[in-house]
């Protein structure tokens, strides 16, 4: 049995095919919001044959493994790679984002800085999910949702009580990295919202939470420097980031307690500010 569904991932229309109905259900939970009926521009498949998992892209086998979790993580990587490669018009920042009725918060930073963990915690606290790693910015300097699955390290995933109730059949596909949808965190999806807050977290084990204000110019340099396609878009990308930042407040947050970071973000988004450092 082969189950295939197509999803619009940025400018790519990705067909994801699997032979496992359980995996098909998981993929539907993760990607369903992006489902389309358009013809695919790229085909990705994860097929099990005698406990061997084969990942194929456009018919070419790219990975063979006996680990379903590794196979699934690689499938997620291939889908995201295809999405980024196909996108020519939107600027793609290396950032996460979530929305609130007072505006959107952009969570920037390098890999391992805690972007996904913080955005997952924000979604679990009621903010709308936009993206966890690749943030599109359109020609008008607006954030465009790319609600790819939220990738959490195993340790980070253990912080979320709702994930303990994840369907047991999904567990073989969750290894060192877990891929989750907002609903699995008790949250929902966000929509296009003006940016009001930029935070650059840095996870430091054992560190007390500290917050430092950052100028918008400093934030522009940090965000542009981490973009996937800034150099290709050139001056246009430069202008977009400046428009995106608008009147946003920008902060660096260092710490080890994601709940304290969430508290700061929520207070910064509210009218009555509450400084924690």
């Amino acid at each position: 049995v082969k189950i295939a569904t197509t999803y619009r991932c940025l400018d790519a229309v990705v067909e994801i095919e699997t032979s496992d109905p359980v995996l098909a259900a998981l993929i539907d939970e993760l990607f369903g919001v992006m489902a389309v009926s358009d013809p695919p521009t790229v085909r990705c498949a994860l097929v099990e044959q005698a406990r061997t998992y084969v990942i194929a892209v456009d018919g070419d086998s790219v990975v063979t493994t006996d680990s379903p979790a590794y196979a699934f993580a690689h499938l997620m990587w291939e889908v995201n790679r295809a999405a980024i490669a196909a996108t020519t018009t939107d600027l793609l920042l290396h950032a996460a984002a979530a929305t609130h009725d007072r505006g959107a918060v952009l969570v920037g930073g390098t890999s391992g800085s805690g972007k996904s963990t913080l955005v997952a915690a924000l979604v679990g606290s009621g903010l709308g999910y936009v993206t966890d790693d690749v943030l599109p910015v359109d020609g008008l300097g607006r954030v465009v949702p790319y609600p790819k699955p939220i990738g959490l390290g195993e340790d980070a995933a253990s912080l979320f009580a709702t994930l303990r109730a994840l369907r047991p059949e999904y567990r073989p596909y969750m290894g060192e990295e877990w891929f989750v949808a907002p609903a699995m965190l008790g949250g929902t999806y966000g929509r296009v919202t003006p940016l009001t807050l930029v935070v650059l977290p840095r996870y430091e084990p054992g560190a007390a939470t500290s917050v430092t204000a950052m100028s918008r110019a400093e934030a522009l340099v940090a965000l542009a420097g981490g973009s996937f396609n800034f150099a290709r878009l050139g001056n246009d990308a430069f202008a977009r980031v400046a428009v995106l930042l608008g009147e946003s407040e920008c902060y660096r947050i260092v710490g080890s307690d994601v709940d304290e970071m969430v508290t700061f973000v929520l207070s910064a988004l509210s009218s009555e500010r509450e400084e924690i450092a």
Binding site: S215, L220, N235
Partner: protein, 104 residues
């Protein structure tokens, strides 16, 4: 000896190099050099200097203007302006016309 003095810029009239995009955010400027795909962040002090480098003003007139606007001592500002301009010229962000008076 400041970087500006060392570069013989005291009487120069620096201007932005062609091909740079600039955006001001609050009191700071970010420059983007599309040719090299590099970003340059100028702090508030450097921005005050940058925005006066229009190819018409000498470093001395730039320093006088900043000293007047900020109330800082002229001799201190003069040294800072020469230092900032020297750095920006060194980074290829400002150019000094070879015909300018006083340029070595």
């Amino acid at each position: 000896v400041t970087a500006g003095e060392a570069a013989g810029l005291t009487h120069a009239r620096p201007s932005p190099r062609d091909g740079l995009a600039a955006v001001r955010l609050d009191d700071e400027v970010v420059l983007y050099d599309e040719e090299t795909a590099t970003l340059h962040h100028l702090n508030a002090a450097a921005t005050m200097v940058w925005e006066r480098c229009d190819g018409r003003r000498t470093l001395q007139s730039i320093a006088i203007g900043i000293a007047r606007d900020t109330g800082a001592a002229l001799e201190v500002v003069q040294a800072d302006v020469e230092d900032v301009v020297g750095r920006l010229v060194g980074a290829g962000l400002l150019v000094v016309d070879g015909d300018d008076d006083g340029v070595n």
